[in-house]
C-alpha cells in the first residue's frame, strides 16, 4: 500500500506512546540508575561506576546461565519448528474436525505458565505421575530432582508441548492462504509430495516462520515460571535459565545494583538479536513486494 507522508499521524500514536513509555522508559531509566550504584534505600546509596558490570561480565555462574539459555533456546527451536510445520501439514482443513483440532491444538497456549509447570510436575512425578511412573515401570530410573539429564529432557519436552502449537498455528494460517489453483497445477504436473512442499508450501511459510521463530526465540529466552515450578532450577543449577538467575538475584537476594547491571546486559543481547530478526523480516517483505511488482 502506498502511504502518505503525514506527521500529524503522531497525534494518533501519542496516547499509546505515553502509556508504553510509562511502562517501559521510566523503569528502564531506573534500571540504568541502579546499575551504577550500591543501593540500600533511596537515601543510602553509593556510586560504584562500572564495577557491577565488570563483576557480572566475569561471573562464571552467569556465563553458565547464558550458555544454558542459548543451548535451551536452540534445542527447542530445532525441535519445535520442524514439528510445528509437520502438524500444520497434517491438520484437517475443513469441517468440524478443523475447528475441533484447532481448539485442541491451541489449548496449551492458553494455560497460565506456572500451571503448565504444575501440570508437568504432576505428570512426571515418579510416585503419582503417569509419565514418571510409566518410565519407572519400564525399568528406567527416572528422577528429575536428582538427574540433570532427566530434568533437562523433561523441560525440553514440556516446552515442546507448550509452544509447538504456536508454530503449528502460524504455519497453518500460512498454508491456508495458498490458493487451490496452485495445488491443481501441481497435480497436473504430477509433482511429487516433496516438490509440492518444497516449491509451493515452503515459500509461503517463510514469512510466518520468521515471525514464529522470532517469537519463539524471545519467549524461550525469558522462560521463567515453567522450570521454576517444575524443577526450581535444579538439580544444582542445571536448569537455571537467565530469567531465573536474574529474579533470584533481584528478589531473593535484593542485590539491586548487580541485578540491574545484569538486566541491562540481558536486554542488550535481546535487543541485538531482535534487531537482526526484525531487519531480516522487513527486508524479506520488501523483496516480496518487489517480486510482486516485477
Amino acid at each position: 500500500m502506498h502511504k502518505v507522508q503525514n506527521n500529524r499521524a503522531w497525534w494518533l500514536i501519542l496516547p499509546m506512546l505515553l502509556l508504553v513509555a510509562f511502562s517501559a522508559i521510566i523503569p528502564l531509566m531506573t534500571v540504568v540508575n541502579y546499575s551504577v550504584q550500591d543501593v540500600f534505600d533511596a537515601n543510602t546509596r553509593y556510586f560504584t561506576g562500572t564495577e557491577w558490570f565488570r563483576e557480572m561480565l566475569n561471573d562464571p555462574d552467569l556465563h553458565a546461565a547464558v550458555l544454558r539459555q542459548f543451548a535451551f533456546s536452540l534445542t527447542v527451536l530445532a525441535i519445535e519448528v520442524p514439528l510445528g510445520i509437520g502438524i500444520a501439514l497434517l491438520m484437517p482443513k475443513k469441517g468440524w474436525q478443523a475447528s475441533a483440532v484447532l481448539i485442541l491444538v491451541t489449548m496449551p497456549l492458553l494455560i497460565p505458565w506456572n500451571v503448565v509447570g504444575s501440570i508437568w510436575q504432576i505428570f512426571t512425578r515418579g510416585d503419582i505421575g503417569l509419565m514418571g511412573w510409566s518410565l519407572r515401570e519400564l525399568g528406567y530410573e527416572y528422577n528429575i530432582t536428582a538427574s540433570p539429564v532427566d530434568a533437562w529432557l523433561t523441560i525440553v519436552l514440556m516446552d515442546v508441548w507448550h509452544w509447538t502449537p504456536l508454530i503449528a498455528l502460524l504455519c497453518y494460517s500460512g498454508l491456508r492462504s495458498i490458493p487451490d489453483a496452485y495445488y491443481q497445477a501441481a497435480r497436473i504436473d504430477r509433482a511429487s509430495r516433496w516438490a509440492v512442499f518444497r516449491f509451493i508450501q515452503l515459500p509461503k511459510l517463510t514469512n510466518v516462520l520468521v515471525i514464529g521463530i522470532l517469537l519463539r526465540f524471545m519467549h524461550s529466552f525469558m522462560i521463567y515460571a515453567e522450570p521454576f515450578v517444575l524443577t526450581g532450577g535444579g538439580p544444582g543449577s542445571s536448569t537455571t535459565f537467565l530469567s531465573q538467575s536474574l529474579t533470584t538475584m533481584a528478589i531473593g537476594q535484593q542485590d539491586l545494583g548487580p541485578s540491574a547491571a545484569f538486566s541491562l546486559i540481558y536486554f542488550l543481547i535481546i535487543l541485538l538479536v531482535s534487531w537482526v530478526f526484525y531487519t531480516a523480516i522487513m527486508n524479506m517483505q520488501k523483496d516480496n513486494k518487489k517480486q510482486g511488482e516485477a
Binding site: 499509546m16 505458565w113 510466518v208 528478589i251
Partner: protein, 297 residues
C-alpha cells in the same frame, strides 16, 4: 540393465510408464489419509495426556492420589472444586485475574486502534524506529523490569490494585495489539478511507462508524491474543500484588502446606485456569489462524 539410464526412445517410454505406475501406487489416497489421521491423533494424545492427568487428579481425593497410581478416579469426588468455590481467597483469585485481564484488554484496544491506523496509513518521522522500539518491549523479559515496577507502582500508590497489573501488562500487550491490528488494517484498501472523507465524514466518525466494523474480525482476534498473554503472565502479576488483587497463580502457591503439597486442590485450580481460554478460543476459532500470522497472509 534395468537400472541404467535409458538410451532408446522405447526404453525412455517404458521407464516413464514404470515411474508413473510407481507414483500411482505410492499415492493410494485412502491409506495415506489414514496415516495422516493416525499421526494427527498421536499428537493430539500427546497434547491431551498431561491435561487428562491433571483432570484425573482433580477428581480424586488426596488419599487416593497418594495411595497409588490409578488411571481414572476410582472414588469420584468434587471436594477440591467445592473448596475452591466456597473459600473466598480461592475464588477471588480467579475474579482478580479476570478483572485485570479485562481492564488490560480495554485499555490496550483503545490506545492501540488509532496507533495501528497511523502505522498502516501514514509515513511519519521516526515511524520505523518507533515500531521497532515497540517490538523490543514485546521481547523484553519481565524479569528485567521487576524491581523498578515494584518501586514505580508503590510510589504512585497503585501497588496491590488491579489497575497496576493491567498497566504493567500493557508493556507487551500494546505492542502486540499494534502489530496484529496493523496487519489487518493494511488489508483494507485505502480507497475506502478516501471515499468516506469525500462523502463528508469526519475522522472520528469514519473511524468508529465505517473502519472499525470493517476490521471487526481483526479486533476479535486481537482481543483473543490480549486475553491470552495477560492471562498466562504471572511474574509481574504476582510481584505487583499482595492480597487485594492477588491473581490465581499466587493463590495456587498456598497449596504447598506444612504437610506437603495439596495435590488435589492444585490440580483442580489448574484445571479451572484452562477453562476461560477454551471459552475464548471457541469464539474466535474461524479467525484465529489468520490472527496467528498477525493478519499478514
Amino acid at each position: 540393465m534395468t537400472d541404467s539410464i535409458p538410451a532408446t526412445p522405447e526404453a525412455v517410454r517404458k521407464s516413464a510408464a514404470a515411474a508413473d505406475a510407481r507414483r500411482r501406487r505410492k499415492a493410494r489416497p485412502a491409506s495415506r489419509q489414514w496415516r495422516r489421521r493416525g499421526l494427527m491423533a498421536a499428537y493430539i494424545v500427546f497434547v491431551l495426556l498431561p491435561i487428562y492427568w491433571l483432570l484425573n487428579m482433580s477428581f480424586q481425593s488426596n488419599t487416593e492420589i497418594l495411595g497409588g497410581l490409578t488411571l481414572w478416579p476410582e472414588t469420584f469426588t468434587l471436594e477440591h472444586y467445592a473448596k475452591i468455590f466456597t473459600e473466598p481467597n480461592w475464588y477471588m483469585g480467579y475474579v482478580n485475574s479476570i478483572t485485570y485481564v479485562l481492564m488490560n484488554m480495554a485499555i490496550t484496544i483503545v490506545v492501540a486502534l488509532p496507533a495501528a491506523y497511523a502505522f498502516s496509513r501514514y509515513h511519519f518521522i521516526g515511524d520505523k524506529h518507533l515500531f521497532f522500539w515497540l517490538l523490543t518491549n514485546l521481547m523484553a523479559p519481565p524479569a528485567v523490569f521487576l524491581l523498578p515496577y515494584f518501586q514505580l507502582y508503590y510510589t504512585v500508590g497503585l501497588f496491590d490494585t488491579h489497575i497496576a497489573v493491567a498497566l504493567a501488562h500493557c508493556l507487551f500487550n500494546i505492542p502486540l495489539a499494534v502489530w496484529i491490528l496493523e496487519g489487518f488494517m493494511s488489508g483494507v484498501p485505502k480507497e475506502i478511507d478516501e471515499t468516506a472523507f469525500i462523502d463528508g465524514y469526519s475522522f472520528p466518525k469514519f473511524f468508529v462508524k465505517i473502519f472499525i466494523p470493517m476490521i471487526s474480525s481483526g479486533i476479535g482476534v486481537t482481543l483473543f491474543f490480549l486475553f491470552m498473554f495477560s492471562w498466562v503472565e504471572l511474574l509481574l502479576a504476582s510481584t505487583l500484588t499482595a492480597t487485594n488483587a492477588q491473581p490465581i497463580a499466587s493463590v495456587m502457591t498456598q497449596t504447598k502446606g506444612a504437610s506437603g503439597i495439596d495435590w488435589g486442590t492444585l490440580a483442580a485450580a489448574g484445571a479451572l485456569t484452562i477453562l476461560p481460554g477454551i471459552v475464548v478460543v471457541y469464539f474466535v476459532r474461524h479467525h484465529i489462524a489468520k490472527g496467528f500470522a498477525l493478519g499478514r497472509t
